[in-house]
Symmetry: C2
Subunit: 455 residues, 2 copies
């Protein structure tokens, strides 16, 4: 299989933006260390970029390596491994499929492609016996995919919930710490380079949904694509939501959640992305700024958390290099990394069927029977109330007008569709003057005790 | 190399205590899943225990597997992999060396043996081409060693600092939350099963030192044994220390610290275990009870943290099974896991030479010149003071006696020996009535700002 010890492992790099530049720096700057760790040198034989003039550092230091013809680079006989950091679907999909078909191993950071077409890549890798590694595709530098697919390979993962998009977390952290509006916080994130000119992939949850698809696929041995993931972004999170969360001892995070759930007595998978309240005592609550963290629950291992930088050139390059070392070791030793494992083939449940919990903040008329009307609406949908708190009533308007109060309800878990339906019905009640905030609550029921009331 | 797909990978288990029992349960209970993930069945062919009558569950459910002759089990032709969860040095060392010499791969949770004689095991594995995996030896269920030796294989790890002993962390957490003395907290830990009858391995830092040796070896590609690790336990941590830490916005944790340090212009390694103050804002500060967490810093990846259960039957078994799946995959695929990599061969610096920071709490006479005398003592040793706070003076004794005050000093970093020498010299000063608390401070200088004074 391998070319034996001594012969260099020859690498083609596709793309040379922030991450690619760091890959080149690490590959060339730490060559002696890498050789010692792998047992053979790793040699960069070519770097494909579309517009070389935009890469002065590369063209100046490595003029002989630069090419604009990525397909020809991939097809070269003297390429053993293709490292891809271009991103996007095409032409990358075609290039990587060609590489894998030719038996060349692939290291990629391309979450969008993996979430859309991971199975095709995995099949091509299996057919030729090539490796396919993509640690950098989820949570940047945090070693997460390798633990999921290797360290926990003898365990049963039940839940993966994490903050996997640094841009939206930066914005939510800024809103929470300064009381800024979404718009102001986004502006600051853009100014500091944490958000792109078009922030949609980040704030609308597309990026997190791709990552959720990859995490669910690995965790549950079931193919989950981005389109299977229920996705709600965080543009709608208001300063009022943040304030409501604080009152409950909670904070709001955009979470990617992958769970094993029941389905007609059998098992299924749920994968979803939305902003949710979590208690400030939850380990994910203190993950601020552009950091990522992922909380994993497994039957034997219990609760695990992984924390670190989710993006950025150097952190992402660290993950790419770790994969490259693994691929090179396999190449030399004649082995192979773990294959895609989709044997379980569980169905994906739509979010409406999945049990979640809601927090609802209502502006209500401060008069008799209000609580009964609202509680009745929950009961009608079969939703059980975990905690309720009324504030601002008696101390409110005392000049003769009917008073106004704030009613905060945290539900027990119920099918998401029933909860959403209840909120819609509540809004139609006469006694409800407005719905100030609706957010899902995650984090193991701790929110209830945070509310200071019996669950 | 491998026996090909289809043929079972045959496993011998040495030891069947809490962890071993869970390994048997997982191996037999999840057989179908494991087969699907590996591509071939894993078959348990024997379990060696010293006193079978102490293992009624095992002898009842698997009577044909039980043997008291571990050496004969290891030597059997139909054993491919040996899983060891006995612990201790002998007879385990001999058994595992025999297995490795015969080309049988080994999965072990034995931190003491690895920290004392890891190189001999690694050499035996390399000589025969067998695998040696030991994820469960450090931080139980937390995937930590695989990330260090694989995910970060293309990066340069600069520091690993963690809470790796659950028993001592449980005791320190109890002391911090209830103000209990060390003795009372230990008693509670023993009653709840977190501490053994003889708690020395945990509270005196031996267990953490073994783990530090393993972490330093992997992180810095340098052989570090337990005897290279500077070790101070946490028996000496008093309620006064805990209170002093709280006043500074800190908490006390027993830390295992492995660092790259400078040494005469070159590089060296420091590995040490001691109780230290860390700011409550540090991610490790909120790791309470029997949980473990390890903070890793690498040049490209930046800061990473791994959190989870560090001990217990099921969590440790999860790590053992993950290794077993990897070994079985290698066995089937003909590959091998990463070998021991000690190419860097860095020297280990004694703790006295390593820069640390101290917090010192002194009872001093409340009169003129005290601060000058004390500051002079620090200056004499070349130790720079980062922050100082005097309290309780004026408001102290007003009945004619010379007053007494509390002086808290946090130093900048200086060689540990200079700091220790300064504290000894301070204790001899006339104006110093007593040394209430001396603790090292870790955590990136944040303690200084926590003191509310310019650094």
């Amino acid at each position: 299989m391998g070319r034996g010890e001594g012969a260099a492992v020859r690498v083609a790099l596709l793309g040379c933006g922030t991450v690619g530049t760091e890959v080149v720096r690490l590959l060339t700057g730490q060559a002696a260390d890498l050789t010692a760790r792998i047992g053979t040198p790793v040699e960069l034989v070519g770097v494909a970029v579309r517009r070389p003039h935009r890469h002065p550092w590369l063209t100046e230091n490595f003029p002989d390596l630069v090419t604009t013809d990525a397909a020809a680079l991939v097809a070269r006989d003297d390429v053993d491994v293709v490292v891809e950091v271009i991103g996007g679907i095409e032409p990358v999909r075609t290039l990587l499929l060609e590489a894998l078909k030719a038996g060349k191993s692939v290291v990629t950071a391309n979450k969008a492609l993996l979430a859309e077409d991971g199975p095709a890549l995995a099949e091509a890798a299996d057919a030729s016996g090539a490796d396919l590694y993509y640690e950098a595709a989820v949570a940047g530098a945090i070693p997460l995919l390798r633990p999921l697919r290797e360290s926990l390979a003898g365990d049963r993962i039940t839940r993966v919930a994490g903050i996997v998009n640094g841009t939206s977390n930066f914005i939510l952290s800024a809103m929470a710490s300064s009381g800024a509006s979404y718009g102001d916080a986004l502006e600051e994130a853009t100014r500091l380079g944490y958000a792109e000119a078009d922030p949609s992939a980040d704030v609308d949850g597309y990026d997190a949904a791709s990552k959720a698809a990859i995490l669910a696929t690995l965790s549950f041995h079931t193919r989950v694509t981005a389109s299977d993931v229920h996705r709600e972004g965080m543009r709608s999170v208001s300063a009022a939501d943040i304030a409501a969360a604080r009152l409950l001892g909670c904070t709001i995070k955009l979470l990617a959640i992958c769970e094993r759930v029941e389905s007609n007595g059998g098992e299924a998978v749920s994968a979803r992305v939305y902003p949710a309240m979590i208690p400030t005592s939850h380990p994910l609550a203190s993950v601020d700024g552009a950091f990522n963290a992922v909380f994993v629950e497994a039957e034997a291992a219990g609760q695990l958390m992984f924390y670190g930088q989710g993006a950025g050139g150097a952190p992402t390059a660290s993950a790419v290099l770790g994969d490259l070392v693994a691929v090179a070791r396999n190449h030399v030793g004649g082995g192979r990394g773990p294959r895609e494992s989709a044997y379980a083939g569980l169905p994906v449940r739509p979010v409406g069927d999945v049990p979640t919990r809601y927090h609802v903040d209502l502006e209500v008329a401060d008069r008799e029977g209000v609580l009964a009307a609202i509680a009745g609406e929950f009961a009608r949908s079969g939703v059980s109330i975990a905690a309720v708190r009324q504030t601002g009533g008696a101390a409110g308007d005392r000049d003769g007008d009917p008073g106004q109060a704030r009613l905060t309800v945290v539900t027990h878990s119920a099918p998401d569709a029933a909860l959403a339906g209840t909120v819609a019905a509540l809004a139609d009640l006469d006694v409800v003057l407005g719905v100030a905030s609706v957010l899902r609550v995650e984090g193991l029921g701790r929110a209830v005790s945070a509310l200071g009331m019996p669950g």
